[in-house]
Symmetry: C2
Subunit: 183 residues, 2 copies
């Protein structure tokens, strides 16, 4: 939740914006940095305003519904810096989504497990390729860094997965069928 607050404050620090705008940018450009959803962003903005980190001013354009344009306050700037220092200085033990499945790999026949892992590998490759296609220019240093970070992790993941598949496949060739061992 602190990461999310940091993200919103950081974006408002760069430019005052209304909720919809913030959310659009996050959905379209920052899907790899956060998976925060719209209602969460609105809720956080409300809380930040209550706490004095940001202020809002109503703005109307044409006959459209009025919208709240948020701006960061000096207090919010201080909060931003605190959160930023916290975030940069630490590396929370990270939990890889998807590893729970890996734990029970041997609950499936080897053949099927291999097929599924190959499918996963394809997805990872797609993601890695998509990332490599993102143009490096035209984004701040920070965003470029997160993309780079993602990319190297994905490539490491890809290498490991494809190695794992090979190991399992050759093991399967050695042994006979591919029945679950049953724990």
């Amino acid at each position: 939740m602190d990461e999310r607050t940091l993200l919103l404050l950081g974006m408002l620090r760069i430019e005052s914006q209304h909720g919809y705008q913030l959310n659009e940018f996050i959905e379209h450009n920052l899907a790899r940095v956060t998976d925060m959803k719209k209602p969460t962003a609105y809720a956080l903005l409300e809380r930040l305003e209550r706490e004095g980190a940001i202020t809002s001013r109503l703005e109307q354009e044409g006959a459209r519904p009025p919208r709240k344009v948020y701006a960061i306050t000096p207090q919010g700037e201080r909060l931003f810096l605190t959160l930023l220092r916290e975030s940069l200085g630490s590396a929370s033990v990270y939990v890889i989504a998807g590893d729970a499945g890996m734990m029970f790999l041997d609950a499936l026949p080897l053949d099927e497990a291999l097929a599924l892992l190959r499918q996963r590998l394809a997805t990872v490759r797609e993601q890695a390729a998509a990332l490599d296609r993102v143009p490096a220019h035209k984004m701040g240093l920070g965003v470029a860094l997160t993309i780079e970070h993602q990319a190297i992790l994905l490539h490491a993941d890809e290498a490991w997965l494809s190695g794992l598949i090979e190991r399992l496949a050759s093991q399967g060739a050695t042994a006979g069928a591919g029945q679950p061992t049953g724990a």
Copy 2:
């Protein structure tokens, strides 16, 4: 949430257990696979029982408070397999906790950013070292795989971070001071 359900079902599939026992094992041995907390586990167990994936039977030992021992049902077994296939076959775009901070790296003076990144690197190294110390034997194939997975990702992270620090440091040496660029 599906990952968490999968984990609980998988554990119950191996052995019927009560909530406390499940949680102990998770906290002590699976902190790297999931960060699920105790009340969440209890809540999920309740839901799974309501849905018929597991059943419970009260058990009393001595004068201790009675506890619910959960066992997986055939329906739960089917759910387990479905979730397992889903989990193994896909690679959800993963979001790296901590990258939000990276995005705003240039909000800090270069010197400070570097100091923080070095601190982060130290943490990553610690984690990697701790993982490498985990004995490879004495745990099922699955658990060993998740540890291995974690380890290679941590090492990739470490390499990237230390490269980044070097790049930033040399860039700082070239340019003069280290003031925020402000944007």
